[in-house]
Amino acid sequence: MEYLLLFIGTVIVNNFVLVQFLGICPFLGVSKQVSTSVGMGIATTFVMVMAALASWLIEHFILVPLDLVYLRTLSFILVIAALVQLVEMFLHKSIPGLYRAMGIFLPLITTNCAVLGLSLNAVLRSYNLGESLVYGFGAGVGFTLALILMAGIREELEFADIPKPLKGAAIALITAGLLSLAFSGFAGMI
């Protein structure tokens, strides 16, 4: 039950993208087509769960016993970079179409602040291993959800008659604001 609440809380109530502003760059950059955003969401979710696991292990078996807590940011980002490389190599070999579609944004998962943010948050809130994994998975699902919602709206926006100054990023941000407004309705749920 506790895990379920944590999961729902992470996916909907404290949605990583729309409420906590983590992972905005890929959210605005890759959300032009539903199909690429699904792929991006799945790849990011995978990296997030792995990052939650890896950062928990590093924190509790290396940094705390050896009294190296000040190396936390440094070690987490290096592990995330290695994980992203792994996903990239896997996709390149097995799903080349998706690999090409994601282009520059695939290596950019490394600099997706949602991944590092979740690793740091999980440690700061002293989650145990199970909670960290649920938190990581929830973050990934929440990110994917926001990305797909946004992509769906933007596909329709392509055909809308938008005033010239609002074209492009401006209307995307205002759309995101309205989505975020909808999500803030969940605030009292848990």
């Binding site: 729309l18 409420v19 906590q20 502003f21 983590l22 992972g23 905005i24 760059c25 605005l28 000040y70 190396l71 936390r72 940011t73 440094l74 980002i77 290096l78 970079a81 950019l108 490394t110 600099t111 997706n112 602040c113 590092l116 943010g117 740091l120 948050n121 700061l124 010239k164 100054p165 609002l166 074209k167 990023a169 401006a170 209307i171 995307a172 941000l173 205002i174 995101a176 604001g177 309205l178 975020s180 407004l181 803030s184």
Partner: protein
Amino acid sequence: MNKMIKDFLRGLWDEHPTFRIMIGMCPTLAVTTSAINGMGMAIATTFVLICSSLLISMLKKVIPGGVRIPAYIIVIATFVTTVDYLMQAYTPDLHEALGVFIPLIVVNCIILGRAEAYASKMPVIWSAFDALGMGLGFTWGLTLIGSIRELLGSGTIFGFSVAPDGFTPFAILTSPPGAFITLGVLLALMNIISDKIAQRTRANQQKTAS
């Protein structure tokens, strides 16, 4: 010399990180609930940006091409950790308010972007100027967004109350949706202004031509 100044000014308008290239968006939206938070975040980022651009520019001949990105990230993460601990010691309130977004400066694309696009190719002094320009651009951007959200959202600016009596603040602007909407509207305004400027220069050119 002229080109150096041009490179410096580029970050303030033409290639403004927030309003033009749209990078470093997470802190831009997350911490700008008040002017002071936005400014504090931007100054911390500028410090990291200048220090890492300097160091990366100095080390550009030493770092092998194949591992340059991890090497840059280590340099950046080192300075971020420094800033994190410095802020914890000297500005604990601000540190508390910015929270996880201070360690997240590591993944701010502005810093890695400048390292890759500029500092890794140019001399040290040039890189410092470029970093300073980008940093100042980021600072005015974040301070502006923070001021607007604070002014309309809670009727204060830098913590001083400036709203007339009877002013009901738009609380939505200090909450997450307000961040997106404020930036969206600002971007639209920016587009209108640069269109006007482009039209005027074109008109002037035609005048001189005829």
